[in-house]
Point group: C2
Chain length 355, copies 2
């Protein structure tokens, strides 16, 4: 079934007769358009991508399953001018991807229609990846694993976190990444205890653990991996023990990952390993998240997520332990979830590397 | 006057008694917080930044002129729990920076209040840069000029646009940039005729013009410059003439830039130069835009902008001519607008460089 028809079924199931898609990742998934300004109007008998003149050539090349309309002014005004919603009486829209101001412009384009706000309109469909999508993620992750291998020969005491981050970005782009999926995390020594630290001018010191978290984009799809390495022998006596616990949590949760498992149950497998080792209070984030056109997408794999992990979804598993003022350890793999188990895309070793 | 008091005056002028700031650049400008999840509630006698636990340490370090509250769940729920809007009857909010869903959560935090949607709540205040802000932009632009100088010794026939883009990113990060302000544009030969081309696998060829557009971020503030260079002698006979016209448009508009000039008038100076040379239809975008915490911010300098350029604003001036299927030329400087004229921050030559 064409993806636009998937949306038409959602529309029909909601008793509606049209949908306005404003989340750009959803727009891309539905019709292929990758520009930064656009929306897709889907009705029972039509589908139209509305964008601006900058994207005339690109939209013509990228868009399948939809007409392309070029607006000279605001996009919603053009929706109105083209009467795209003239026959619609009940219209789904994305209330988590539309500003209050844009909503006012949208309702003006169909003043007598009823508008029905929806969250996560296509999240569960986007989670079930096609072979093409899995291949793109695999190729992105291959670049990321290659870069990690290259880093091991250049990381040395005295480098700053920011210098190492520059190398990570440069090597991804040189290997053909379209862009980074997110700003790399290079968090050394005590900075490693901050799960979202930004690369700083701190120099890597002998005995530091260093948390490295990075990923790139190929054909629109993201990779995402974390490894924690040591500059020489770890200075903190507890470091190798914590490292082993985190890897054990990763391996056990990977072994439990399969289609149909509840996210909360998968999270609990890792959380129990870490809790039994006495570090439960130092693992404060969820176990993982879906990856695709967005680096973070549905399903969340967390103690408070209500989702069931679907077949062919691609998720991260990334347990971590963060000891404030001392160090952090996080190890993250990217896996494809199948009926019988998980296929791990990440090929880098999970042994503690000392450089 | 403290910036939070600037907002209080806007609130009072609107007959309101509180404001909820959800645009993250505005939040940063008001109280210093640079995280990716937060909002600021300002009332007549208080100001509170609400963020999540990831930013506990960072918010404590960054935020002045406001209390910090850490939410364990949704931010608006915490606004409600803390009764931050309990006494407010008329509340300004940013209808161009709040989703329909978040607006529902916001109104639930003050069910009996009237909510007043505003666009560009702080745009004109943010445009008037402080000496610190101008200095940060100057430092960012200095790195960008330095990188351009380095590029001239490495650009050669046969490199791909993507390889050159990787060098641009790497060298900015090595020189201390926090991050790139936007993805670099490296558009060679016919790709140069697409104003928003992305770096591709196309190899630079002898005779190509190459449009290079890039900038970085220092202390939160962006730089932005464009130069067009030639690989050897330009192959297209019209290239040097077009180049001279574009630079003339830049120089003439720079000479007219001063506090109080209308954006449309400044745009017209450049547009007239290009139009009189016969290329008017090939200059399809505005002349420039404000630069600060965001790479593109108020004021737009365009034929359909209604703004007057204020003193101490920092804007780009970036005329271009794009001949479809042949080549493009854009030359962009960053200027500080003063009472008597413009101070050009960009130091790279505007001569046509042949490498």
């Amino acid at each position: 079934m064409q993806r636009v028809d998937v949306l038409r079924r959602i529309v029909a199931d909601a008793g509606a007769d049209a949908a306005v898609v404003t989340d750009l990742a959803d727009v891309r998934w539905l019709c292929g358009f990758s520009g930064s300004n656009g929306l897709l109007v889907v009705t029972t008998d039509g589908a139209t991508l509305v964008t601006d003149g900058r994207y005339r050539v690109q939209a013509a090349q990228e868009v399948g399953d939809a007409e392309v309309a070029i607006a000279s002014g605001p996009l919603f005004k053009h929706v109105s001018e083209l009467n795209l919603l003239a026959k619609a009486e009940h219209i789904l829209f994305q209330h988590d991807a539309l500003t209050v101001k844009a909503h006012r412009d949208l309702t003006a384009a169909a003043p007598s229609a009823e508008f029905i706000g929806r969250s996560r309109l296509l999240a569960e469909h986007r989670a079930r990846k096609s072979p093409f999508e899995i291949d793109a993620i695999r190729r992105a992750q291959k670049i990321t694993d290659t870069v990690f291998g290259e880093l091991l020969s250049i990381i040395r005491e005295g480098m700053t976190e920011a210098e190492l981050s520059a190398e990570i970005v440069y090597r991804h782009l040189r290997l053909g990444a379209e862009r980074m999926a997110f700003e790399p995390i290079v968090a050394s020594g005590p900075n490693g205890a901050l799960p979202h630290a930004r690369p700083s001018a701190r120099r890597l010191q002998r005995g530091d653990l260093v948390v490295l978290d990075f990923g790139c984009v190929i054909d629109g799809y993201a990779s995402d991996m974390t490894r924690t390495i040591s500059i020489g022998e770890p200075a903190d006596q507890e470091a190798t023990r914590v490292y082993d616990v985190v890897v054990e949590a990763l391996l056990r949760s990977t072994a439990e990952a399969r289609a149909g498992v509840e996210a909360v149950q998968l999270d609990a497998v890792a959380r129990d390993v870490i809790g039994e080792a006495g570090y439960g209070e130092y693992f404060q984030h969820g176990l993982g998240h879906g990856v695709g056109l967005e680096t973070h997408e549905w399903p969340r794999v967390s103690h408070n997520a209500e989702s069931v992990i679907p077949e062919h979804s691609v998720v991260t598993l990334e347990p971590g332990v963060y000891l404030p003022g001392r160090f952090g350890v996080r190890v993250e793999d990217l896996v494809v979830v199948g009926q019988k188990g998980a296929d791990v895309l990440t090929t880098s070793t999970k042994e503690l590397i000392r450089v």
